[in-house]
């Protein structure tokens, strides 16, 4: 058994800052949506905006970091992505004690299903939230001009709320799946906090790792 560094310090900071901001945004957002009463609309709204701008800044850094380090490749689809085998594993193999059909390495931190989920989050859900959120915030600025004739406030709100629900579903899946990605069950969480993962390599795991490396 050996310890390898999976996540850099920046990734750890980025992940947890993002987690806090997103949970805050969900909490204040669903209050504004009218799902419950907690801070009151005005405080919820103000908090929501502050958190949103915080997240924008964080994302700006993160995008820069990904571009500079080349880590953006982590989200690219591997050539022989065996998503079906991973789904089969979660549906069946995980219960019968099969080995995971993937392994985590610094070069391939995410299994193909994870990659797909993160790409959906970062490529679809988050941009939908950003764009609709900024449109909502600056509604008064653009509404009087050209787009106002084609865009209804309620449509943008609908997109924002739909994307927020998608984010909540993603979050539930994400948190649970984190508990399935390593052994012991909290291994992935441990890695996300410390940056290190304890590697217990099995032959098949080793095989997978080699394959992943070959793909790069």
């Amino acid at each position: 058994m050996n310890r390898i560094r999976i996540f850099s310090r920046f990734e750890i900071f980025w992940h947890w800052a993002q987690a806090l901001l997103i949970v805050g945004l969900l909490a204040t957002g669903f209050e504004m949506h009218g799902s419950y009463t907690w801070l009151g609309f005005e405080s919820a709204f103000k908090t929501h905006i502050v958190l949103a701008f915080g997240l924008i800044v964080l994302w700006a850094f993160a995008i820069f970091w990904h571009l500079v380090t080349g880590e953006w490749r982590q989200y690219m689809r591997p050539q022989n992505a065996r998503i079906v085998s991973i789904i089969m594993y979660y549906a069946y193999g995980i219960f019968t004690g099969e080995h995971r059909p993937y392994t985590t390495t610094p070069a391939a931190k995410h299994n193909p299903l994870q990659r797909l989920a993160y790409v959906i989050f970062k490529g679809l859900i988050a941009p939908a939230l950003w764009i609709s959120g900024l449109l909502l915030l600056f509604y008064a600025t653009w509404q009087a001009h050209l787009p106002g004739a084609y865009l209804e406030l309620s449509w943008i709100a609908a997109i924002h709320v739909s994307a927020a629900f998608a984010l909540l579903v993603f979050l539930i899946g994400h948190i649970y799946m984190a508990a399935t990605t390593a052994t012991p069950w909290y291994g992935y969480l441990y890695a996300m906090i410390t940056g290190y993962q304890k590697m217990t390599q099995t032959p098949s795991d080793h095989h997978d790792t080699q394959k992943d490396k070959q793909q790069r």
């Binding site: 949506h33 009151g40 995980i94 309620s154 629900f165 579903v169």
Partner: protein
């Protein structure tokens, strides 16, 4: 103000004389210097305290009307006073003649309707026709007793009703605009005739009290009609009116309703629903009495989102800053049901019933409902008020809007405004299907309050309306009662910012503005499908991970047991 100045001047004079006598006395007969020094100190202190007030008193006017020979009186009637006024203020009456306060007529430029008190209807006392002497006790003239009143007569302008500062001048309730010239009983109350010469010598600018004498009493008594104008505004606490309170800015009505040549800014028939010119500095369009004329179009501190200023684009200032109708502690009338009027006791006197200290039933007028400090109704408003006049057909199966604000969310220059809705049940012509006016007041048997006969009262009112050209047809002779509404935009009793509506007032389920078309209010509105599907998916995900996790756990425990067994 003038009254106070006189009082202060008198006090100063009195104190000076007293002080001087006492000082002289002391100088001549003094034996105890200590007591005298105390006296001297007290007098000096009083003078020092009075100095700022005296300076203020001096700054008010360039004319002391007590010194005018023309105003020494005695005056036998109001018009005599007016003639005296006009001997110096030569153009004043001609200016007043141009004012809606005098003409009681307004040609609406947007709807083409002829409105004003002479033509418009409502669901309180219905309309002016043949009720002159009662209604015209609020006309700024003398003797508007019937339609033949000469609207070009200069000496018939009542200067005192606006310019009295003594608070003793008033128009007799049924005097067609005249004050009582001798002490008179009215409804069991002794009304003291004003001393016209005294009033004439103490004229000054209009005040909350002088404007309020009519505008607070609309609909037949204090607070009845408007819902945002009542006698609580004579000396309101800051919480009731942030501008008019003597404890804050002490504005009079004309501070915002600026008068130029006796013509005021502001109208309820045609107002600026969305002022855009900004602060009214010289050279700009003066949009007074709009809030924006002093506060500008972006009065809120932007903070991190500037949403309040952005709201002001579609929401009138009044909507948040006048959180309730009738905030001054006096109830306003919310419903007037004429259909039950006419119940009298054995002596033929109309019956009165009280409930919770309010008139619930009046044999002369029917049933009433009252309310205070309640949420207004909100509508898109472009500033133009349209009326259902006597010659317009109505559908008595539905509630008839006797007046209603024009504009919807798609109209240009509309904003959401707060309104008091006055509900009514009033007589209509059941054959011609139109609203009617009725002669309520008068000493002849046609008057409803004499004969209690709707047919005669309506016939008399409609004959007058026809004579005035307001309607072509005559009353059919058959009447019914129809449910009606009138809309009164709220613009007064402006709360301080701390008492304005919070965001949650609208941004919550079933909050204010619910049912208003053309708005999507986050927190209040939502797409039910998105929420339903969204929560369903969240539920399914949660259920999925819980089941998956539980199965994993169970299998894990089993496996451990079996390994442990081996």
């Amino acid at each position: 103000m003038q009254q106070r100045s006189c009082l202060i001047a008198g006090l100063i004079l009195f104190t000076t004389i007293c002080g001087a006598i006492r000082f002289a006395h002391m100088m001549i007969y003094s034996t105890n210097a200590c007591i005298h020094r105390r006296w001297l100190f007290a007098v000096l202190l009083f003078f020092i305290m009075m100095l700022p007030l005296a300076a203020q008193a001096l700054a008010q006017s360039t004319a002391d009307h007590r010194k005018f020979e023309q105003l020494q009186g005695p005056f036998a009637s109001g018009p005599e006073v007016t003639q005296a006024c006009l001997s110096c203020h030569t153009e004043a009456a001609l200016q007043v003649h141009q004012s809606i306060h005098w003409t009681w007529s307004f040609d609406h430029p947007a709807t083409g309707q002829r409105l004003g008190k002479r033509h418009a209807l409502n669901n309180l006392c219905l309309g002016l026709a043949n009720n002159y002497p009662r209604c015209t006790s609020c006309h700024i003239g003398y003797g508007f007793a019937d339609a033949s009143f000469d609207l070009t007569a200069q000496d018939k302008v009542d200067c005192l009703i606006c310019h009295d500062t003594t608070g003793t001048y008033f128009k007799f309730p049924t005097g067609a605009g005249h004050p009582p010239y001798e002490d008179t009983l009215f409804r069991g109350k002794r009304l003291q005739a004003p001393d016209l010469a005294h009033v004439a010598q103490h004229v000054g600018p209009s005040s909350r009290q002088s404007c309020g004498a009519c505008h607070f009493e609309g609909g037949g008594g204090d607070a009845i009609k408007h819902g945002d104008l009542d006698s609580s505004l004579i000396a309101p606490p800051v919480s009731v009116d942030v501008h008019m309170s003597p404890d804050s800015l002490n504005f009079s009505c004309s501070t915002c309703h600026e008068f130029t040549g006796h013509i005021q800014e502001g109208s309820r028939y045609l107002l600026r629903a969305r002022p855009t010119a900004g602060i009214a500095v010289p050279g700009r369009d003066n949009e007074r009495p709009a809030c924006e004329s002093c506060h500008g179009v972006a009065p809120h501190v932007p903070g991190i989102h500037n949403k309040l200023n952005e709201h002001a684009r579609i929401i009138a200032c009044q909507t948040c800053h006048i959180p309730e109708i009738a905030r001054g502690g006096l109830p306003t009338k919310t419903r007037w049901d004429w259909s039950t009027a006419g119940q009298r006791d054995a002596q033929g006197r109309p019956i009165n019933e009280m409930q919770e200290g309010r008139v619930y039933y009046d044999g002369m007028k029917g049933h009433f409902s009252w309310d205070q400090a309640y949420a207004p109704d909100y509508f898109w408003f472009d500033g133009s008020m349209r009326y259902t006049l006597l010659d317009e057909p109505i559908d008595p199966q539905h509630v008839v809007d006797v007046n209603y604000p024009l504009g919807d969310f798609a109209s240009p220059d509309v904003r959401i405004w707060p309104f008091k809705i006055m509900y009514g049940r009033q007589p209509f012509d059941a054959v011609n299907q139109t609203l009617v006016v009725a002669q309520l007041f008068g000493s002849d048997p046609n008057a409803y309050w004499q004969g209690y006969d709707w047919v005669r009262a309506i016939d008399s009112g409609m004959r007058e309306a026809k004579a005035l050209g307001q309607v072509r047809h005559a009353f059919s002779g058959t009447y019914g009662f129809v449910e009606t509404r009138t809309y009164w935009p709220a613009s007064h009793m402006v709360a301080p910012a701390a008492d304005a509506l919070p965001c949650e007032a609208c941004h919550q389920r079933n909050g204010r503005l619910s049912g208003l078309p053309g708005v999507y209010i986050p927190g209040q509105h939502r797409y039910a499908l998105i929420s339903t599907v969204g929560w369903f998916l969240v539920f399914v995900s949660l259920l999925g991970v819980i089941l998956h996790g539980t199965m994993r756990y169970i299998l894990h425990v089993r496996k451990q047991r079996s390994t442990g067994g081996v």
